[in-house]
Point group: C2
Chain length 392, copies 2
């Protein structure tokens, strides 16, 4: 049988990144290519304790079907928490629990994108989201990143010239892959431009709680007096990614459509997993846990920086970060980045070639992404040393 | 802000069924409208024991990111199990773990449907799947159900006349909503027609293990020498729906596309939940559990039948069932079904109007669906008695 796939799928070619992941799962390989949070940061004992209690006291509630919108106590608690702690959410906003933040990208895309529409994104940007948008057969318009976020002049030009722009996709904190944080002034400018040109903003904030340096910057969503920002949050980086619990804070009218889409995708997010997140957030020392996380990431990032300063500098430079999981490293001019990454794989170190994060993978790119949180400290330093050796 | 939603979403109006569910969540209401498995059938103690063990011995594995295809031991075990026990899966097939079987409908739709294509389905059929198909902006062509499955003459006519038919959607065992089981002869005919007309089959089998009468009939997928059947299975009815673990057995070439789509939807299905299903299947008395389930459903279905015979007959008739969760009840001719259902709600009993399951909800329909597994036995009998009273 010769299968006929949909146009949207024919357009979605398997990403270069997946080829690399194949090697990365080999236990002899040092993976600097993942996006995994540090396992030592998981509140494993607390989760075991909470889960035992839930399954003893309320097994039926945890195991039966639930409502699409999410586990009510989690929705209520999280909604208050995001409003009070982050200024995220107003009276016109609601909250929807999703199966990871990735599902926010998908449900929102499904709700607003027609084929042929345009999505504006940072360039480079997170490949997972870019592929979600691509799966709706849309055009991606990348806006180059500067040290404090996307170039707003080029953003305005794109808003003026591109047809059927439906939303701007931004990762304002410790962006994936560059690690760049969008400054407050730029957040305001992006918001004002979206407002003026009547387009929505999709704000993806998976790493916001992993700030280990510098000062907190308010979310774009906190500026949202007009109801034009859809905010995606997740427990993946602060509790556990394996549980697959994320959430959207967005105008109720948009969420209602996303709920209809979610019904058709997975009915609802696993209840036990939502209950675990709720109990941990509401009845354990959540703030203390976040503080501990930051310490783990601060220490580990310092080890990575020290190793990069020692083994990669001055040829390979990296973008300084104030949080998150990634370093964006740039090779000397005229170095062939793809063949550098291939050589690294042969020496059993995996990094992600920067092209994977471009709206057009055929564009030239001299950078690659390093994740410093997955390997243990010895592997991390050894991996960076090997990368340095390749160039020399 | 006036939001612009996608065409696919504008076409998806909120279903009548949801209005009914609003009432059904009121604790004073007897819900015969859900699709919940009997909570007494959940292996709650075993799940508690398994989960404690996993979180004690392998917490990082359970809490870290996993691969999109699913937890490897579950995939391997389930693949062998389905092949050996059900003849489901050949050398060209693979297995993908999904977030409930609903996600199989969605990922497969996303992989093969273009806007304007046609999906052939049973009429009536499961609204959740119909809405998934609708969300891809396709045309639904319903084939009337007979006592032993869809009318194959009309199926052939549709295959001849409809444009761009991509697949036939069937629920061969204890169909939702009618409870009808497609006979072996018809399964063969449907398979042969699909083969002849070069279209795929989406076989949805959530209730297959809940057979409490009659003899087992082989899955359509067991006939699949050509690689044209995508089989959707789930743990929702045999372990727990709240865990959201389902699976697809399908040709590898199709699964590869579905995996790319899943990456963009929820990255992977929650790992802890997959581990729970694996451990229960592989290391507990799974067959004994299935036997116990059948006894629970057999006993409960008998209570429902006795009550219907006593309180609904002869005016309201019901389709006999050999398993599954639903009874399809038909009112006397010229009775206004929607107003009957509304009256039931006013008397605090919820059923689902049959129109909800039609490809065109505006078609006339004198039937409604009863679920007998959600309420306790007292509520079940009381609810049926009230329904009988409404007509009299």
């Amino acid at each position: 049988m010769e299968y006929q796939f949909s146009d949207r799928i024919k357009a979605l070619k398997p990403s270069a990144i997946r080829e690399i992941f194949k090697y990365a799962s080999d236990p002899g390989v040092i993976s600097l290519s993942a996006g995994n949070p540090s396992p030592e940061a998981f509140p494993a004992d607390e989760i075991a304790e909470i889960t035992a209690k839930i399954l003893k006291e309320r097994p039926i509630e945890a195991l039966q079907y639930g409502v699409t919108e999410g586990y009510a106590p989690l929705r209520a608690y999280l909604s208050d928490y995001m409003r009070e702690k982050h200024g995220v959410g107003r009276d016109f906003d609601g909250i929807l629990i999703t199966s990871g933040a990735q599902q926010v990208m998908d449900l929102f895309s499904k709700s607003v994108l027609n084929e042929g529409d345009t999505v504006i994104c940072e360039a480079p940007s997170f490949i997972g989201s870019l592929n979600t948008f691509r799966s709706y057969n849309v055009r991606l318009k990348g806006i180059p990143m500067e040290n404090d976020g996307m170039n707003v002049e080029l953003l305005e030009q794109a808003l003026k010239n591109e047809k059927n722009v439906k939303f701007i996709y931004v990762i304002p904190n410790f962006q994936n892959p560059t690690g760049i944080t969008t400054g407050m002034e730029k957040r305001r400018q992006i918001y004002e431009l979206a407002k003026r040109y009547r387009v929505l903003i999709l704000e993806d904030n998976p790493y916001g709680d992993l700030r280990f340096a510098g000062s907190h910057i308010e979310a774009l969503k906190s500026l949202d007096t007009e109801g034009i920002v859809v905010y995606a949050g997740t427990f993946s980086k602060v509790i556990s990614p394996g549980l697959r619990v994320g959430y959207a804070v967005a105008p109720e009218e948009i969420l209602r459509k996303m709920v209809v889409c979610k019904q058709g995708e997975d009915v609802h997010t696993a209840i036990l997993n939502q209950m675990i997140c709720y109990e941990f957030m509401a009845h354990y020392d959540y703030e203390g846990h976040l503080k501990k996380l930051k310490e783990i990431y601060r220490a580990k990032a310092k080890i990575a920086c020290d190793a990069m300063d020692r083994y990669l500098a001055p040829e390979i430079t990296y973008m300084p970060i104030e949080g998150g999981l990634f370093f964006w490293c740039t090779l000397p001019e005229r170095t062939d980045m793809p063949s550098f990454c291939k050589k690294a794989v042969r020496e059993r170190v995996c990094v992600v070639p920067g092209t994977a994060f471009l709206t057009d993978e055929k564009q030239p790119c001299g950078s690659f992404r390093i994740n410093y949180t997955t390997p243990d400290n010895t592997g991390l330093v050894k991996g960076i040393k090997i990368l340095g050796g390749i160039l020399k």
